[in-house]
Symmetry: C2
Subunit: 221 residues, 2 copies
């Protein structure tokens, strides 16, 4: 009707994509559905992205950035909780908190999380996607290096340790979203499994720091 220049169609398309995948899942995440949700014609998205894969790569890059922010927020909150008790977090405990943030992100936005790791859907050569993914990995490497400075496996390569720790939480997130843990354990079992995973990988000390509900008893009188 009015083929005028909308001010921020690109951003609205990304938002629409997140809404669509949140509402209808990956099978409903089509270019035309995104366009409908954004209120534009089915050809409009291709003026801002060369293909659907490029649009989804932008969604994924944004997802990585959001993941980094989520983990930072979890770290800040845990640090504040510790400071309220006149304590500081050990570096391995910060790794545990980061893992909890990773799982929280996957649970709160399962669609975006799935898109971010779907090689056949996104353009994995997208520059922003690779950059944000690398930034997320660097966030973890920094945490690992801090733990190594406190003596935790100081003789190993930091990037290798980061890869393994990433794989551990990623496996928990993926299998949980797939529904693989439904038969074996009850509701909210993901946090328990994460705790167990942390005790195996980081030692008993780190496991209890990840989940606020089990570690924070400062508010009780």
């Amino acid at each position: 009707m009015t083929p005028a220049a909308r001010p921020d169609t690109r951003a609205r398309l990304l938002g629409a994509a997140r809404e669509v995948v949140a509402a209808d899942g990956l099978e409903g995440l089509t270019l035309r559905a995104i366009a409908r949700r954004a209120g534009v014609s089915h050809g409009a998205p291709l003026r801002h992205f060369p293909s659907l894969a490029a649009l989804l790569a932008a969604v994924a890059a944004d997802g990585f950035a959001r993941l980094v922010a989520t983990i930072d927020a979890h770290l800040d909150a845990a640090e504040r909780r510790a400071a309220a008790r006149d304590r500081r977090l050990l570096a391995v405990q910060r790794i545990a908190v980061a893992g909890a943030g990773y799982l929280d992100f996957a649970r709160s936005d399962p669609g975006v999380f799935a898109v971010t790791f779907r090689r056949e859907l996104i353009d994995i050569s997208d520059a922003a996607y690779r950059e944000q993914g690398y930034r997320s990995f660097r966030q973890l490497v920094t945490l690992v290096e801090a733990a190594q400075a406190e003596g935790w496996h100081a003789d190993r390569r930091a990037d290798a340790l980061a890869c393994v720790l990433w794989a551990h939480v990623h496996g928990l997130a993926v299998l949980s979203l797939h529904g693989a843990f439904e038969g074996a354990a009850g509701d909210g079992a993901l946090d328990d499994l994460h705790q167990l995973s942390l005790e195996l990988s980081l030692g008993p000390a780190a496991g209890s720091a990840a989940n606020p509900r089990t570690s924070d008893n400062s508010s009780s009188p």
Copy 2:
């Protein structure tokens, strides 16, 4: 041309599906491509499966069965290698070998492995899929229980430990196939990362048993 009843169209469709996904990946895995590869018309598959999702669920169920067989083969081979040196494998070492088999399956058939865990592609309510998946999980639980009988975390729930160990190798497999480890480490790094993961989760003793190349030096004089 000849609308006659082929003898084993169902099995040929499953084989064709595996061929297609091996050749063209998940984006080329369409119902019509499977039919073409199997040499039947595009409507024939729906005579044997109610939908594409059901066909792929059968592929996935078959994949689970093949995964169990692969892990069994790895366990047998490792047991034989140990017997040649007049030794027996510890139960935690058998868990490590099973993990190596899991990664081997994912690497040797990445398409089928991906299909098996793609919730939006397969009919996850399929009875055979659920049964074979449960069988695969039971295989791991049995290994865990044997390790617990030898004292390894005997106080924890076996199914929870199995979930965590499964998540650890699954995360390694998924991220490796995604290409997430390409920037950080060189070729064949997956086995090294698995070794490191095992040392973190199972202790230093178990790590060296997984990979034949690093553990088997019985052939040297």
